[in-house]
């Protein structure tokens, strides 16, 4: 059984590898190659608790099915089979056995939900993320300039009806430090997702959702709006740049020098009542 799991997993992994062979590191969104604790935990739950057992059940069921159809196919001159109507013992068995198996899945479910749903640590870097058709804006409420204005990275909202232009907004974070984000939307529902760092959370107008994540390796990670939000949903991208603590601080200082607000790209931010 162990062996079956590993074979199946191997096949799955090989498949995934074929897929990302040659993937551009700036665009790679492979959830099986996590670089953050959250994404790693999610992948491990997936593989150990579900993909593995599912692979076994899959193989067993298909094997039984194929065997049954071949073994019991009608042969020439064969008499009619015995009319078996059922067997209560078997019924109980295949009710209880899967139920036990499934009840075990409650463990990772509940544990995972609680761990991912906890508040961000006190020393986490706080970031306010605002979604808007079709861009992201990031604000660091704790990093303020001389006048007390928080550092804000404006995305460049697209024009409805036109394909997007320019580079996606960049979210700079220090590596190995917990990031606590709050998510707000000014128009429709979006979803904040950086696959290699963490699963997604929706950005719902009229409510503030929050989540935490971190990056465990320096690099830039591609992310993308994951809730259909209209015309340019496909282009509502973002990039998380995870830097060493020093680089991050240098970046922050650099940005704040300009008077408080950083911009990625040109043009006026269409966000109203923002940056206070």
């Amino acid at each position: 059984m162990r062996r079956l799991v590993s074979v199946a997993l191997l096949i799955a992994l090989v498949g995934l590898l074929i897929g990302c062979a040659g993937a551009d590191p700036d665009l790679d969104q492979n959830t099986f190659a996590p670089e953050g604790d959250v994404a790693r935990m999610q992948r491990d739950i997936l593989i150990v608790w579900v993909l593995g057992p599912a692979a076994v059940i899959f193989v067993v069921m298909q094997a039984l099915l194929i065997y049954a159809v071949i073994r019991f196919r009608r042969k020439k001159g064969q008499e009619l089979p015995r009319q078996v109507h059922g067997n209560n013992r078997l019924e109980y068995a295949w009710t209880i056995a899967p139920a036990i198996l499934l009840l075990m899945l409650i463990v990772p479910t509940v544990a995972g939900v609680i761990e991912l749903g906890r508040d961000a640590a006190d020393d986490a870097l706080r970031v306010r993320v605002v979604g808007q058709q079709f861009s992201w804006t990031f604000q660091y409420p704790d990093l303020t300039d001389a006048e007390g204005k928080p550092l804000t990275v404006f995305g460049l909202p697209g024009e409805v009806g036109k394909p997007s232009t320019g580079r996606p907004a960049e979210l700079h974070i220090p590596v190995d430090r917990e990031i606590g984000v709050t998510l707000e939307s000014v128009d429709v529902i979006h979803s904040f997702w950086v696959p290699k760092l963490a699963g997604k959370l929706d950005v719902v107008p009229g409510r503030t959702n929050s989540m935490w994540f971190n990056a465990t390796k320096i690099g830039s990670y591609s992310g993308q709006c994951a809730e259909f939000c209209g015309f340019q949903h496909a282009d509502m991208r973002l990039i998380v740049v995870a830097e060493s603590e020093e680089d991050f601080e240098a970046w922050v200082a650099d940005q704040l020098e300009g008077g408080g607000a950083a911009r990625s790209g040109a043009g006026e931010p269409a966000l109203v009542s923002y940056g206070e």
Binding site: L27, T31, P81, H85, G86, L102, A234
Partner: protein, 626 residues
């Protein structure tokens, strides 16, 4: 005016041809119309799917622009669910339920005709939205563009009338579903032949009953949600307007409160079909009949408690997420019971490898994959990664195409001879199966990998270098293969109808009552209403079991041969059948007119109401034998 119409109707009774179809209240004809219409919509939805696949076949492709892409995937999903799988299931309800329970028709034949016409009207109305966006030849589409679940506030913000057509279309289709839901519950409760106790009903009848109950309880919820959406859009109400304090998530709750029972509305009829096909072709009774029935009831019951698994990532909070996670995980138990019993039905049988069996086994095989991916989705923390990716797209097609559609095709191959009198060609049938099976697997299994590789759904294009090119290309090839398989199927139908390979009443050595009567069945179904003595009654008319439990043929048992005077259409036997009526058709026409009026001009509403009222009063006052 009503009087004049009534006179026309009396003349109509003697007519054949188109007129007789427009006024028919015969459940078999209505079933055939349901089936043919749904299949045409399937081609429509399939062509939309192929457009999607062609656009996605390579990165940065520009066959469709984003706007067209959004409209087309919305219509694809909506069409496939509401205009294909639901009505195809309804086609089988119509064709089979009265035959399987030994009745002459459904409880309310005219209501039944009304259901069909409303469905047709709603489907056409919804698709008419394509033409409202300007010049369709220039690619200016007016179809809805907010996805098949139309999340507010995107669906509020969407310009044009696409969403209005979508919402009114779904409301109209809801009327059709509700009407047939009521009708079949009453039929199954009240119209069973003597001796057909609940636990002697064929499994398909059970699943129809369960599905109908799901329909009548789930539809009102989406009805209210759609009205709320329309009030917001058309009259400035605030249900989902977050600026006025409204909660967009209310829409999601209401949609999925309907939507999850809905997915079982889509799969249970197919499961019923499979539960009929497997015993016939393995020549053994269904294994564990009561357990299969109970698990169907359990699925229906549990389907009310899992809806928020579509909303894990909306920020419901740990308690709600855990609770819905657990309930979703557990719904695999009753489904598993069904699968195991089907397997046990095959086990030890004498399986004849005919096309219906291939599709039924294909159903089990693919549905297991679909179900397992469902369980994978149900694990909340890891689903934060899979939600809204191609993993979901893979899951939903595995259960809907690999599940529901495979099951429905099994039914088409199985009962085609009953209703046309002709067998479908085996060779072409098996070719259809294998092409579809292989095509299916190379279309949708790669999507699981795409999902794990982080490809979100509903994106019209993707950049080069994300690592998704190869699998997308593969999927597109698979989709084309499915398309070919459907062409093979259509060819097979045409060929088989012309080949005139007479099926006879009982080509498969069937077990249930419908095989006891001629193919195609006469208008009155049963010359004499049968008295039922056992489950699989017809089988027991043909075979006795010896001491070891092996069946021994009974001499002289078997199906009725068709009678000489087939064209006497029932009247010859003094069997009183419900008379045809076109008031259901008139009443049904009123609904899309009213909807058009509400979108464009109140004056049209008045016309629609007038038509509806004429239809209903004519219907109510008509001297009919209902």
């Amino acid at each position: 005016m009503v009087g004049a119409l009534r006179r026309l109707r009396q003349e109509g009774e003697s007519y054949q041809g188109v007129w007789s179809w427009l006024t028919t209240v015969d459940h078999k004809r209505i079933g055939i119309m349901y089936g043919v219409t749904a299949f045409l919509f399937f081609l429509m939805g399939g062509i939309e799917a192929l457009l999607l696949r062609i656009q996605l076949s390579s990165p940065n492709n520009a066959v469709l622009d984003p706007d067209q892409y959004n409209r087309i995937f919305t219509m694809h999903g909506t069409t496939m669910i509401f205009l294909v799988v639901m009505p195809l299931s309804a086609a089988f309800f119509n064709l089979l339920i009265p035959l399987m329970i030994g009745a002459r028709d459904v409880a309310f034949p005219r209501l039944n005709a009304f259901s069909f016409w409303v469905f047709l009207g709603g489907g056409l109305f919804m698709n008419a939205s394509f033409f409202t966006g300007g010049n369709i030849l220039k690619g200016e589409l007016g179809a809805p563009d907010a996805g098949w679940f139309g999340y507010a506030p995107l669906s509020l913000q969407s310009a044009g009338t696409g969403i209005d057509f979508w919402a009114f279309g779904l409301l109209i289709l809801g009327v059709a579903s509700m009407a047939s839901g009521f009708n079949f519950i009453v039929t199954i409760f009240n119209m069973r032949a003597p001796g057909m106790t609940l636990l002697r009903m064929p499994l398909f009848v059970w699943m129809t009953l369960v599905t109908s109950f799901l329909i009548i309880f789930a539809m009102p919820i989406i009805t209210v949600a759609l009205f709320q959406l329309l009030f917001d859009r058309l009259y400035g109400a605030n249900f989902f307007n977050f600026e006025a304090g409204g909660q967009p998530l209310l829409w999601q709750h209401m949609f999925w409160l309907f939507g999850h029972p809905e997915v079982y509305i889509l799969i249970l009829p197919a499961m019923g079909i499979v539960s009929e096909v497997l015993p016939t072709f393995s020549r053994k009774p269904l294994f564990g009949y009561p357990f299969v029935v109970i698990s169907g009831l359990a699925i229906a019951f549990m389907s009310w408690g899992v809806w928020a698994h579509h909303m894990y990532t909306t920020g419901l909070g740990p308690i709600a997420n855990s609770a819905f996670g657990v309930s979703t995980i557990l719904i695999a138990v009753p489904t598993g019971i069904k699968i195991f019993n089907w397997l046990a039905t095959l086990w030890g049988g004498a399986i004849s490898l005919k096309t219906p069996l291939f599709f039924a086994v294909g159903f089990i095989s693919m549905f297991v994959i679909g179900g397992l991916t469902g369980v994978i989705h149900s694990i909340v923390p890891s689903d934060y990664q899979q939600q809204d990716t191609y993993f979901v797209v893979a899951h939903l097609h595995q259960v809907l195409l690999g599940g529901a559609m495979f099951g429905l095709f099994a039914g088409i191959y199985y009962w085609f001879p009953k209703f046309t009198g002709r067998l479908l060609h085996e060779g072409w049938g098996q070719l259809h199966f294998w092409l579809m099976f292989i095509g299916f697997n190379i279309t949708f299994q790669p999507m699981m990998i795409l999902g794990l590789l982080g490809m979100p759904r509903r994106i019209y294009s993707y950049p080069e270098g994300a690592g998704w090119e190869w699998w997308n290309a593969v999927a597109t090839v698979g989709a084309l293969l499915i398309g070919v398989s459907i062409l093979v199927f259509m060819f097979n139908v045409v060929l088989s109808l012309r080949r005139n390979d007479q099926a006879g009443p009982d080509p498969w050595d069937g077990r249930t009552l419908e095989w006891a009567i001629p193919s195609p069945p006469p208008a009155y179904n049963f010359r004499e209403i049968p008295t039922v003595r056992a489950r699989d009654d017809f089988w027991h008319q043909k075979y006795e079991e010896d001491e070891t439990g092996r069946p021994v043929p009974i001499v002289g048992g078997g199906a009725q041969e068709p009678e000489e005077e087939e064209h006497a259409e029932g009247e010859g036997h003094g069997i009183h059948m419900p008379s045809p009526s076109f008031f259901p058709l008139i009443a049904a026409i009123g609904l899309p007119i009213i909807a058009t009026g509400l979108i464009y001009d109140a004056a049209i509403v008045a016309v629609g109401v007038a038509v509806l009222v004429v239809g209903i009063y004519g219907w109510a006052l008509e001297p009919a034998s209902e």
